[in-house]
Symmetry: none
Subunit: 237 residues, 2 copies
Amino acid sequence: METINKKILLVEDDPNFGIVLKDYLSMNDFDVTLAKNGMEGFEKFKKDNFDICILDVMMPYKDGFTLAKEIREKNENVPIVFLTAKTMKEDVLKGYKAGADDYLNKPFDSEVLLMKLKAILQRKASNGLADSKKFEFTIGGFHLNSKLRFLKYKDTESIKLSPKENELLRLLALHENDLMPRELALTKIWRDDNYFTSRSMDVYIAKLRKYLKVDDTVEILNIHGEGFRLVIKTEGE
Amino acid sequence: METINKKILLVEDDPNFGIVLKDYLSMNDFDVTLAKNGMEGFEKFKKDNFDICILDVMMPYKDGFTLAKEIREKNENVPIVFLTAKTMKEDVLKGYKAGADDYLNKPFDSEVLLMKLKAILQRKASNGLADSKKFEFTIGGFHLNSKLRFLKYKDTESIKLSPKENELLRLLALHENDLMPRELALTKIWRDDNYFTSRSMDVYIAKLRKYLKVDDTVEILNIHGEGFRLVIKTEGE
DNA sequence: AGTACGTTTAACCTAACCTTAACAAAAATG
DNA sequence: CATTTTTGTTAAGGTTAGGTTAAACGTACT
């Protein structure tokens, strides 16, 4: 498993710096794809599977934050590291809100970057990586494709799911018949756990229940104060 | 919703800075334990369960790295964030080698710290924490799942239990056939031992007895002035 | 500007939960 | 055996979490 080098998407508009950094990372056994701007970065992201994304914040056309958001919509797990020239608090906060995993101010030491990357990859490795790859589920009579974001019941037309609907249902499915803690969904999907996000989540639970109503072997149960449980009643028995 | 606050171990030798930081984090809904040096930090770490550790690097007797290593020996998962006054590359590298999750140079912005903590906890929330807690019990003809909070008798519909019912029954089951002291339940579940909580507990005992009535091999007995006993009459005999 | 879509916020209602009170029954106490 | 203390049980009350719908908001696309 460890034979294949980790793939990095590096998006950096300064060509000199970009090349230097790419070479440095390549020398350290990373498989680096370099993109010169946000647009190109997103295209390349869609076409491949990266283990980590390093995004410059200041870029023409599409800045790093916007790109990060787009990336997050496609993939909620891939680690994102921002590079920025200035130490602006706003930027840092914005970055973390966009789902950053780390943040580096230029000029930074390349060795430090390397250590950060290693630390991040290590963390990811310890987490259930299998989960992040799983995107197809059978839920009673339903089939959920959470990559393409649709839900199909038997031979009926498939329903399109919004990003939040999709992620929530996916999390529930990942914990099929088991408790899916409120807190988990809130931190993973809403990235904040407060009264409003919690209410928002309830709204989405209601939406999902509506979709699932056609199949009475499938149900979303509440465990008061804890979270929800997607139960699938197995036949007979 | 009663989300229990995340526990932070903060080890910082500068008393002024330590207090300020502790207060700031407390204000932001963290449950902070402050230790004044590495030694004390490790003692406190062993005595409790923390969600995250924030360690100053420069400390008398035992520096942050040494402490981090000791902590890692006890727990290889808990996130560790270092604080350091100087931007020394050596230190940063050493920190990551010691298993750091992040690194902050003083002076740092407190909001940035907050975001980092959130980002780290979010990452951690994604892996299912290995809850070594025991939550499944067989009580005569009953099956109690105290994680999903339900009680099932043979092949009947399972009953949903409220948090208090569930915790109380779980405590009783944990002490099956043995004395479960009043005081224990009151301090563990009600977090206070007074006349009213005690009466409340009696109400819950009554509720549990009602649930358990269908199986006459199971019974909750009172031991006057001491507590309760969940007895399970084994067959034959 | 206008439309479409996804998401959040507000509002209102119901269900779940916990405590308290009230009264009855046991058990201890002297 | 009268009295106090503890426990058993039920029901009322208050508080919070959750269910649901609709309106408001925001952003992207026309």
